[in-house]
Symmetry: C2
Subunit: 200 residues, 2 copies
Amino acid sequence: MEALEAILTRRSTRKFRAEMPGRELIDRIIEAGRHAPSGGNNQTTHFIVITNPAKLAELAMIVREEFAKMDIYPGMYRSKQNAINAAKKGTLLFHYNAPVLIVVANRTDYSNAMADSACALENMMIAANALDMGSCWVNQLHWLDGNEVIMKYLGALGLEEDETITGGLVLGFADTGAEGGGLPVRTALPRTGNPVTWVE
Amino acid sequence: MEALEAILTRRSTRKFRAEMPGRELIDRIIEAGRHAPSGGNNQTTHFIVITNPAKLAELAMIVREEFAKMDIYPGMYRSKQNAINAAKKGTLLFHYNAPVLIVVANRTDYSNAMADSACALENMMIAANALDMGSCWVNQLHWLDGNEVIMKYLGALGLEEDETITGGLVLGFADTGAEGGGLPVRTALPRTGNPVTWVE
């Protein structure tokens, strides 16, 4: 797929088929992420790729439990409120049952940690679209960064002591029903915000 | 250009030809940025596109002056140290004399400000590469976020009171000499960092 088309038609996928993408496909998406720029060519973005169904289910359960313990305060970021409310009702499934979750982390003491990680995540989202796969940035693990239970669980999976969770990507084939045939929805949502000011 | 190729061959351009890209080309790159995902579809990334040569030169001078006032402390981020040292010597030219500078800003009170902005910047970098243009993330204005002189200057150009400077992009045709013909250098640097951990 042409680059501009892949960028403009990328959409967030939140419903996935159970089918596990082949390792070669996942590798290509990770390589796209690894080729994002980094501050001073730092290259400290860490990709923890979870395809083990039992681990994914366990992590989703722990995330639900930890969000259920949280309180909502006035002015709290709306999506975070939604996660807490869903967790308290027992319905939160932060990874949307996607077969692949890529946890993105970076060095705690690095001021460009989020910037570099976000560039890597965007590369992976565009690559996924170009390869007929669906993906979505999931932020629940970032919101739980520092949470003792989560850090311990992810620590056992490879998160380093000096790392902070910057984001996450769910990945798989989109469940777009019989008509969609597993291809992502690609009708771009209009951008009414994201304003542009010209100084000519 | 194919999407994966555009992602894998994107390189930072730091030497530009003086030629101003056509408005249509710049517009396509900004549209790529505007189509980045945003937290809760927030769409608050603000693109301030500066093509006015006098304003660019003035801004570069102010940036140099403000960095020259700063002190280096132990453990300071290396690229920031480099900017301060160059500013004190009078050689800092943060926009590499590119004909186009896109200042990226977002809401100060928005927790995904950097994440959203970085996705937009990455989209623009990939789009620039696909359109045979060179670009580079420049972070000096982000480091000067909150600086009174800079906020006042950018405020006059369109930066809003409730906005924080999250990053910047320089853009133009790469100066790769007679042989390069203005095309960006596209030999990908090997990624020795950016580690991957599999949980299968």
